[in-house]
Amino acid sequence: MQKVFADFIHTLRQQGVPISPAETLDALKAAELLGLQGKSRLRQGLGLVLAKNEQDKQTYEHYFDEFFKFAETASPSGSEALEDGDDLEQQNEQSSDESSSNDDASEVSSSSGQGGGESEDNEQDESSENSATEVSASSPLGKMLQASDPAAIAMAIAKAGQQESVQNIQLFTQKPLFSYRMMNRMGNEALNQELLALDASDELAQQRLANRLRSAQAQLQEQVKDYVEQQYLLYAEAKGQQLRETTLQKVKLTNIDNHYMHQMADLVRKAAKRLASLHSRKRKLRKRGLLDVRKTIAANAAYDGVLFHTRWKSTVVDRPKVMVICDVSGSVSRVARFLLLFVHSLQEVLPRSRSFVFSSDMGEVTDLFKEHKLEDALAEIMSKWANQSTSYDKALADFSENTLKDVDQKTTVIMLGDARNNNGNGRADIWQKVYLQAGRVLWLNPEHINSWDTGDSIMASYRPYCSELHCCNSLKDLERILGNLLKHS
């Protein structure tokens, strides 16, 4: 029972459903309470304990069906696997026995537990009934195939899978290897040899047997393939996904293929959620609802210290005010995309953030994000602002005219740009004003530090007026920089 549960929960975790050990224990308790009789009841009950949001619920339901579908076909008593609690446990005892005894391939069919044993008896009865004249196969696998008892075959497949530990499958390229090994484990070699021997003989009955066995063997091969495929889907599919995600975090944003953009957006959201939960409790510690003794005494000094009026403590929420200015021209636009996406995913902890984009004219896009979905807003921004030639002169002049008055000591201004200004002078004087007026000024440059001030880049003229300068071109960079921002605000 525990083993099956552990496997199931492992599968869910692989699919990104976060399940803690405590929840696993709860699930076991719930399963005990509900019993294993009713599959739908169990499915609902475990769902309550294991999946804690809409998306996880869907994943859970899908994989519950997948996972226990397998249990049904692989169990000796077919669809009764979940209908009958004892049966499930029995099956597991068997499987644990099996995995411990690392027996020979030749023993497969005879040691496949009660179900297998019985079926073999049946098989002999049947074959003797069906055709007394027919020759029966001599190899164990051959006997099993001849009997064509689906339950016994399924059991043997499951057992061979366990012995070869198919659940450790990592890559889809391993699928044929595992299928091959499982076939061998089930005694394919012996069968092949038998087939050769049968082919060599001249008797019609034996050749007929060979043909029948061949087709059964092909069928079995197909079944094994399906089994491995299923195990791959259950255990390994998510691993590739994880691998891709970790790589995507590190790779340069400018180099990411459009194909992965969608996935990146998800990653940004994940990172934003992590940051939000890390920093959401940062408030200036003044408790509300408790008597503020100092203030109360002060307020009542006029009444000779008789306490008429009470004064209460209050909480001040300290949330940084952030202005993000993004250059959306050329190569910077890709990074800008993610910065905007990131900042707006952080709404929970940065509710007062404002965003501006420019190539030459600067425009505020805060409302756009409020009204539309993130992706739609981004698409609109890119189509509306991105196709102009860069002019920091014009952009900064716009900023100074419209927004500079709102910048105060509590504001953090983040500029994302490569400072490539098509040989204009760059109006660093405005940037100096911003620097003096704002609490902090961050400049993020997607180019590597070596290429700053080369060509038409005028990073040097802005450099004195920045509290911090960062090279920022991967999701990891973004996360680190914004994390620092939240920590120090």
């Binding site: 309470l33 739908s40 309550l48 909480t315």
Partner: protein
């Protein structure tokens, strides 16, 4: 929670039936959730769109188990002083003033500050004792001798600090009050937390709860619910009504009508003696179902189409 009759929660089916008798028609998963909550002693976090009967579930459970329902509405800025306990500051101040003279008597004859303080100490913390403690819903629920049903409504509206504060209560059914010590539940309450998903709740909180999502009901279930809530309604009209509401839920509206709105509408139609839904009646009573003018403007031009869909004659 001490359940006086263990057979009341013998199985999810028993619960389902009992709730049905009390006019709360619930799906299998709801019954399973309540059953597990009673046996595993775990809080249930109920999520779902507004008006699907999240709060009602707590009420009907309390009624069925004959336990007091203690309700706490969450809002932004809710803190432990409002939720757990508070000292009766006014009473404390008043008493110190009244007892000023008494204090003089007690202190008489004491030599030096040390001795005075010593004497004061011997009286213990009079002003921070039970008499001056104002209990709030959470503490009340813990102190209920036979257990209670605690409903923490709209937890998503509260601050994250408060959510963190709830963790101790939800996992161990105890809270710490610095002046008094740890208060442990006399009998563990059954806790329902409801959320409309205005913000994502913390993983720590979710981990401690059973998570129940109540979606809009299927047509058949909603039909059943309305039948039990508005028993006088004609069956065919009810079918029409449920179909109509389901059509509305498919549309992109600001706020789609929930069960509570369908019930209100059913009551209204009954009151108006409507025996069959037609376009005129729907147009006149649409404001009962849709709470935004924008939504009404979206639906009105589509009315004829929807009506032909639900009356395919």
């Amino acid at each position: 929670m001490i359940i006086k009759h263990a057979d009341k929660i013998a199985s999810p089916e028993v619960l389902q039936e009992a709730f049905e008798k009390r006019g709360y028609i619930c799906s299998d998963s709801i019954a399973t959730a309540v059953y597990l909550a009673c046996h595993l002693q775990k809080p249930i976090l109920v999520e779902g769109p507004p008006g699907v009967g999240k709060t009602e579930l707590a009420k009907v459970t309390a009624e069925y188990l004959a336990a007091p329902l203690i309700r706490m509405q969450c809002y932004e800025g809710l803190d432990e002083a409002k939720a757990l306990y508070e000292w009766k500051y006014g009473k404390q101040l008043l008493y110190t003033q009244v007892l000023k003279d008494q204090l003089g008597d007690v202190m008489r004859g004491a030599r030096g500050l040390d001795e005075s303080v010593e004497r004061l100490h011997s009286f213990g913390d009079i002003f921070y004792s039970e008499q001056f403690l104002e209990t709030r819903p959470l503490l009340q629920a813990l102190r209920e001798p036979d257990g209670a049903v605690l409903l923490i409504d709209e937890i998503d509206k509260s601050d994250q600090e408060f959510e963190a504060f709830l963790l101790e209560l939800l996992s161990d059914y105890q809270v710490s009050i610095p002046e008094i010590g740890t208060v442990k539940a006399k009998s563990k309450p059954i806790v329902f937390l409801t959320s409309n998903n205005t913000r994502e709740l913390g993983d720590a909180l979710k981990r401690r709860c059973l998570h129940l999502h109540i979606p809009f009901p299927e047509t058949a279930l909603e039909n059943q619910i309305i039948a039990s809530q508005v028993p006088d309604m004609d069956g065919s009209l009810r079918d029409q009504l449920v179909d109509f509401v389901h059509e509305l839920r498919q549309m992109a509206l600001k706020k789609v009508p929930a069960i509570s709105e369908s019930i209100d509408w059913a009551r209204a139609l009954l009151l108006l003696n409507v025996d069959s839904l037609d376009e005129k009646w729907v147009r006149d009573t649409l404001s009962l179902l849709l709470k935004y003018q924008d939504d009404i403007e979206i639906v009105e031009p589509e009315l004829r189409k929807i009506m032909t869909q639900i009356n395919p004659k």
